[in-house]
């Protein structure tokens, strides 16, 4: 079979569409123990901020039915050390690198974009705007079309050159298409859908919230129907925008589902915690599935569930 598994996001080519999800693979230094990083389409690094961050105190996680909550609080070394240690190492691995950035103010995003504009060997920038905006009562940037736009516009103005900007959106909004349109307007070349949903677990022994910060982000298979819906809606609203889909993908079938909904690439998050080799098996299973369904290239599958006939008549 001569199946074309390549995909591209705003002009950048990736030999296959399986990426890691930000925050679920560190900078790859542990996963490389299990597989060569260049076997994946790209490594999306943990969201990095300007300064070193301790993150939150523990407990930082709670398992939930078919999912988990996390509240890491963006622990990380800050952009300087990250550029010094992680990027060169990833380049040495031959990995395609997507750097995820996060800020607390619009200016933070601008600063991070400037720090990254001249770094060579990056494939794209993912902008995590699911962060509390300290200048706006801590409301998350991604929850409001204006603040989402401001953050992305700041990156756009400062990034220069060709590096594609992928805006990562939160599903915790009334109208995700409106947010998507707003960030595309502001210059996003692609979208990453979806970040975690805000959830809480109360420990019935201590009778208090289980996580030290009370709430956390819900990820894993539990949220897959939300991810599929969000991707499908945004793909319908903005047919041409590249989408990196994620949310509960655990096997090739799940990845196929998100691609049918409209994803151009798939990030693997929580599944890696259950199985360090998850991304690799998903990649293999997805390719087989596409071939077995008679597709000759991955690109044909993207958004295939939107074709008109299929949604009007019922198959048996």
């Amino acid at each position: 079979m001569n199946f074309d598994f390549g995909t591209s996001i705003a002009g950048t080519f990736f030999p296959n569409p399986i990426f890691t999800a930000s925050g679920c693979a560190g900078s790859g230094k542990e996963l490389v123990h299990f597989f060569p990083l260049n076997e994946l389409g790209a490594i999306v690094t943990k969201s990095i901020m300007i300064k070193p961050r301790s993150g939150r105190s523990t407990p930082r996680m709670a398992e939930t039915p078919s999912g988990m909550l996390n509240s890491i609080g963006l622990q990380g070394p800050g952009i300087e050390l990250f550029l010094e240690n992680d990027i060169p190492w990833l380049r040495d691995q031959g990995a395609r690198i997507i750097v995820s950035i996060a800020g607390e103010t619009v200016e933070d995003y601008a600063v991070l974009a400037r720090k990254l504009r001249n770094i060579s060997g990056l494939s794209a920038l993912e902008v995590n705007i699911s962060c509390p905006n300290v200048e706006n009562r801590g409301q998350v940037f991604a929850c409001n079309p204006e603040t989402a736009r401001d953050a992305i516009a700041a990156v756009r103005r400062n990034i220069g050159g060709e590096l594609p900007i992928i805006a990562k959106l939160s599903p915790d909004v009334t109208d995700i298409s409106a947010i998507a349109e707003s960030v595309v307007d502001a210059g996003a070349d692609g979208l990453a859908l979806i970040n975690t949903l805000l959830g809480m677990v109360i420990d019935t022994n201590t009778m208090s919230p289980k996580l030290s910060q009370r709430t956390g982000g819900l990820s894993g298979p539990a949220i897959r129907p939300i991810a599929v819906r969000a991707i499908y809606q945004v793909r319908a609203a903005i047919p041409s925008i590249p989408i990196v889909g994620m949310g509960g993908v655990t096997n090739g079938r799940d990845a196929f589902e998100l691609v049918l909904a409209g994803a151009n690439a798939i990030s693997i998050g929580t599944a890696t915690f259950g199985n360090p080799m998850a991304a690799i098996s998903i990649k293999e299973e997805l390719e087989e599935l596409c071939i077995s369904r008679g597709f000759s290239s991955f690109k044909e599958v993207i958004g295939y569930a939107h074709r008109v006939d299929s949604t009007l008549t019922r198959e048996n």
Binding site: G23, C24, A25, G26, K29, E30, L31, H33, F34, K46, K51, P52, R53, S54, G55, R56, S57, T58, P59, R60, M61, A62, E63, P65, S66, G67, M68, N70, I72, Q75, G76, P77, G78, S212, Q213, G220, P221, T250, T270, A271, T272, F273, G274, N275, P276, M277
Partner: protein
Amino acid sequence: MINSRATQLDAEIISNKRVGSYNHMVFAVNELAGACRPGNFVAIAVGGQSSSMILRRAFAIYRATMRADGVGLLELVVAPQGSGSKWLSSQSIGQKVNVIAPLGTAFGIPTEPVSALLVGGGYGSAPLFALAETLKSRGCRVDMVLGASTAGKIYAPLEGKRSVNSLTITTDDGSAGTTGRVSEVLPALIDQHQTDVIYSCGPMAMLEAITAISQQAGIVHQCSVEESMACGIGVCMTCVLPVKGDDGVIRMTRTCIDGPVMDGNRVLWTRSREIPDGVWGK
């Protein structure tokens, strides 16, 4: 860095016996048994296919041995607490489970014979017996203290007891040994045995109490900590503790790869839901 010998494989359960409040379980593995050191842990997928439990469960390695026929044996002590451990301990012989092992750091073994005091709380005794054997074989004196809420929660098999010079037991309810907590009997034992190094494993509150005692006594304290772990392989950052590094900087440190065995005197034990002052990046 992740334990360089970490391997993922399906392991068959070849024994599963109830011992007090625990299940002693034996798994058939390959050469990885030879790669396990006292203090290392394993991460096991629970619930079978289409399980709602998506995360692995961590278990300290009780013993890991290679049989003459080349089969490796991995032994664990499982406390059936929540849904994952209950599922695991209810699996029958012949079932297979997916295991990643060995993971994490091991107890440091002194190059000279020393007087070692091993302290375990509940199933925290599990990794201490293999450690005791190793220490013994290096000519160390090995005293052991095991504590639990009640007698059934003391895990101290006969063959394990053989490798220690003395064994002290404490229970909160007095159903076995001395009534009280391990920390209450420690100072006298340290004195009596001229302890050079304490090795411990058990609930975080116990490790904190032992740290205070070891600092007081000015002796080394290697403890195996237990934080909630989502991945066990260093990629998720859920399992962290504030720990002082060689450079004096206190960082939120992953207990799955820079632990579970850590220098107790370097851990900033805290019960507050705030990051302690002085932590890098606070």
